[in-house]
């Protein structure tokens, strides 16, 4: 009998029976409790002993959360779980939002201190969006591209384009004009932006198909040629759709990373300046 190892799939969100969710909740409850009951003589703000305590905890959490990027690059033997670390990253990130807010004492202004807080909150809020993206997009991405890689899809599109371009020598009038548009439908910079916001299927393909059929009916082009053109158009339409979906999913992840990662560094820089400024004008 083969030795079957049963391994239940567990999301990073539910890692170890939501261990880090409970840790984060406990941390938040303690923080709120202390905020309400701490014997602070003046109003709450970052400058009381309690405020400094929350500040130290916050900056420690920030550095630890940001170190996820280092952790995943330092693959070493030993007992550690990237999934566990990611789980902790998500839940303690939520706790950080609360602890840092309590650290501010709800005093905000147009200054480096609030900028540091704002940068950190952008990272955390984008983190929520990131959890949603990473929970859905990767499966859609692999579903869309099937067994093919993006390079293979692109290579197929190049082939279709080459054939379509040659076929255009045989066309004239409106079919040629529409054909030129169909041929051009894949510019990457534009398509990636468009793919984010617009439909993946484009009406020009339909128009081109119709015009070919009309031309064939009118006897302007031969049946064989029309079949070739229609086959190429159909192939291209399918490829463009898949590539655009691929681009859309990749762009979502890229944009998310382009917010979450840089703002992590921004907020760490601003927190650094914030701490320096506080002690400089002590």
């Amino acid at each position: 009998m083969p030795n079957v190892i049963s391994q239940r799939f567990e999301s990073f969100l539910s890692f170890n029976r939501y261990r880090y969710l409970w840790v984060a909740l406990a941390l938040m409850v303690v923080a709120i409790g202390c905020y309400v009951f701490a014997p602070v003589k003046t109003e709450h703000n970052g400058g009381t002993w309690f405020g400094y305590t929350l500040g130290v905890i916050s900056v420690g959490l920030m550095v630890w959360l940001a170190a996820l990027g280092l952790r995943k690059r330092l693959i070493r033997p030993g007992k550690w779980s990237q999934k566990g670390r990611t789980s902790a990253h998500v839940y303690l990130g939520i706790a950080l939002a609360l602890i840092a807010t309590l650290h501010t004492g709800f005093q905000f202004g147009w200054n480096v201190h609030t900028a540091a807080f704002g940068g950190m909150m952008i990272v955390i809020v984008s983190g929520f969006i990131g959890v949603a993206i990473y929970a859905t997009v990767p499966s859609k991405l692999s579903e869309n591209s099937g067994s093919q890689t993006f390079v293979e899809l692109k290579s197929q599109l190049d082939q279709v384009n080459l054939q379509l371009d040659k076929v255009l020598f045989e066309l004239d009038g409106p079919p040629l004009k529409l054909g030129e548009r169909v041929l051009k439908t894949d510019g990457v910079l534009v398509s990636q932006l468009r793919a984010l916001f617009s439909q993946v299927a484009l009406p020009v393909f339909e128009q081109f198909r119709d015009s070919i059929q009309q031309a064939r009916d009118a006897g302007a082009i031969e049946r064989d040629l029309s079949l070739t053109v229609l086959r190429l158009t159909q192939s291209k339409a399918a490829l463009v759709k898949r590539i655009r979906l691929h681009q859309r999913y990749k762009a979502l992840i890229s944009i998310w990373l382009a917010v979450h990662v840089p703002f992590t560094f921004f907020s760490m820089l601003l927190v650094g300046i914030h701490i320096f400024a506080v002690f400089y004008y002590w």
Binding site: N161, D165, E170, A258, P262, L269
Partner: protein, 583 residues
């Protein structure tokens, strides 16, 4: 008739070759499409361009369809007979140069085609598809991180710091709220310190060192001390638990304990400089009586933690028990009397009929008839004899035959005696019968002058005893009246902000029911608590310690008043003496 087609082919090596094909007539089609006999690989040309036609031995060109232009390079495509009388023709179609001619034996049409260069299919949309697009490289997290970090560092670190260094040398008079230091300030600076907004180092003298009281006192000179340093240190509770940790941390970071900054915080925007929130008063005042027991006699130190825990108000009053005049500060009680030495009744003066009413030309006096606010509009001026009482109590002691009334100035008794004796002597010298003292017997002249003066001033119906109680000193020369103009020496009260309907004077001071001058007409704390309450109580005015008490106030000094102390001297000492001479 045959057609011989000669095409020049430009090789990539630069060499030219010729390709010769022979077609059987009578027709040869030209165009872009591969379905033509002659393919013209020029995207600018139509799919089908034109036909070369041979009809009955006549060679001509014919447009294939209406899309083709009627003429090509001057050759009319609608006239197919151009070679009937001519031996050859040349024209250009797109990039192609085409020449037509007849062979020497006239039985073959010669067609030469020169494409003018390399032709053939060149893919326009081939493998130019980049895997990594420009868009993706713009989204590169590392690039964005570096760019943003540089930008934010420049804005939040380099800019404020460089301008901070610059501002130490020039203090701009035009201070804007957008000064670069604002980016580093924890909040907007108060309007009082607004002039320093651009030069942080005025207060933050040394980097990484907290603001010291010494720096504050450069401007805020000679502020009255709340209490002596010894008393303050005894009042502060010994820190325990977290407080002791806080104390240790403060010592470690060089933060002054008990300095200006422990109560005053700037950078609070429009709220201004925060002054001693309640909690800080309570630090010492909660349990103060217990901590000071045995040290200062603990007299007068209450255990006050909040407005609701505030005990009865204590007011000053004059006590003459046992012939000694002393000032007593105690809570209101039926036995508490203010023995000022004045014979007076508020009830009588506010009555709507009677002697006072008659003297005031049958008008009822009001509080404002005698009491007036001082320049601060917060407190009432002391009632002066001349302006307050003198309107009715005019110290008239006699009149002459002509009806002229003789009055005394309100001065010391000795002075009054002197003036009166002199006036009586002078009158008797000039005309012994002219002046009639109205408060002595009719005996005119200077006999028994001293007794007469005494009778006028201090007799049973004497001038002075209208208001002064008969409290004579042994030597009979002084009338010791001690009035208190500030009953609550540890508190401030602003009458102007209490001028609100339906509040009237008698809402707090029951003057109409006061039959004796010794009544203390100050309100109990219950009167205040109809409107005032601890912070957080709804529908009441949030009242913290500083609403009524000042921290920087000189503790009042109660003089030991002995019998016979000069009334005016006593009154001077008891003028309100609060608030610092802050510059």
């Amino acid at each position: 008739m045959q057609i011989k087609l000669t095409t020049i082919i430009y090789r990539q090596s630069g060499r030219q070759t010729r390709k010769v094909e022979t077609f059987e007539g009578p027709k040869l089609s030209f165009g872009r499409s591969a379905s033509n006999d002659v393919v013209l690989s020029d995207r600018s040309l139509p799919v089908k361009c034109f036909d070369l036609d041979i009809v009955d031995g006549v060679v001509g060109l014919r447009a294939t369809d209406n899309d083709t232009k009627a003429s090509i390079d001057g050759v009319d495509l609608k006239r197919p007979e151009f070679l009937s009388g001519e031996s050859q023709a040349e024209f250009k179609v797109g990039q192609y140069s085409i020449s037509l001619g007849l062979s020497s034996d006239q039985d073959m049409v010669l067609v030469n085609i020169d494409p003018g260069g390399s032709v053939g299919y060149t893919p326009r949309y081939g493998p130019g598809f980049r895997v990594r697009s420009k868009f993706a490289s713009l989204l590169n997290a590392r690039f964005l991180s570096w760019a943003g970090v540089f930008a934010l560092f420049a804005l939040f670190a380099w800019y404020p710091f460089s301008s901070e260094v610059a501002s130490t040398t020039t203090l701009s008079s035009d201070v804007s709220d957008q000064a670069p230091e604002v980016l580093w300030a924890s909040g907007k600076i108060s309007s009082a310190h607004h002039n320093f907004a651009e030069s942080c180092d005025q207060c933050h003298v040394e980097p990484f060192e907290s603001v010291t009281s010494e720096t504050c006192s450069n401007c805020h000179e000679a502020l009255p001390q709340h209490a002596s340093a010894l008393l303050l240190s005894l009042s502060r509770p010994i820190p325990e638990g977290l407080d002791s940790l806080e104390g240790l941390a403060k010592a470690e970071f060089g933060i002054e304990e008990g300095g200006c900054a422990s109560c005053h915080k700037d950078h609070n925007g429009d709220e201004g400089v925060l002054s001693m929130p309640d909690g800080l008063c309570q630090t010492c005042h909660e349990g103060l009586d217990k901590r000071l027991a045995g040290h200062m006699g603990a007299v007068g130190f209450d255990d006050v933690g909040a407005f609701s825990a505030h005990g009865d108000f204590k007011y000053l009053s004059v006590d003459r028990t046992g012939g000694e005049i002393t000032l007593v500060r105690s809570a209101l009680s039926p036995s508490k009397r203010d023995q000022s030495g004045i014979s007076f009744s508020h009830e009588q003066h506010l009555a709507e009929s009677g002697l006072v009413w008659e003297m005031a030309e049958e008008q009822t006096l009001t509080c404002a008839s005698c009491h007036a606010l001082d320049v601060s509009m917060k407190n009432f001026k002391p009632v002066e004899m001349e302006t307050g009482c003198g309107g009715c109590h005019d110290l008239a002691w006699g009149e002459d035959d002509l009806g002229q009334v003789f009055r005394l100035e309100h001065n010391s008794l000795a002075e009054a005696r002197y003036v009166l004796a002199r006036e009586l002597s002078l009158a008797s010298l000039n005309d012994p019968g002219s002046v009639r003292p109205n408060r002595a017997d009719g005996n005119r002249g200077v006999e028994n002058l001293d007794a007469k003066v005494t009778e006028i001033l201090l007799g049973e119906t004497g001038l002075c005893l209208e208001c002064h109680e008969s409290a004579l000193n042994d030597d009979g020369t002084r009338l010791d009246v001690v009035t208190i103009s500030d009953f609550a020496v540890h508190a401030t009260f602003d009458h102007s902000v209490h001028k609100l309907e339906p509040l009237q004077c008698n809402s707090c001071h029951d003057a109409k029911g006061s039959t004796e001058a010794e009544d203390v007409l100050m309100p109990k704390i219950e009167v205040c608590s109809t409107c005032h309450a601890d912070p957080g109580v709804s529908h009441r005015i949030e009242s913290d310690c500083l609403m009524c008490h000042e921290y920087h106030a000189t503790p009042p000094v109660f003089p030991k008043l002995s019998s016979g102390l000069d009334a005016f001297a006593a009154r001077l000492v008891l003028e309100p003496n609060r608030g610092g001479n802050e510059k």
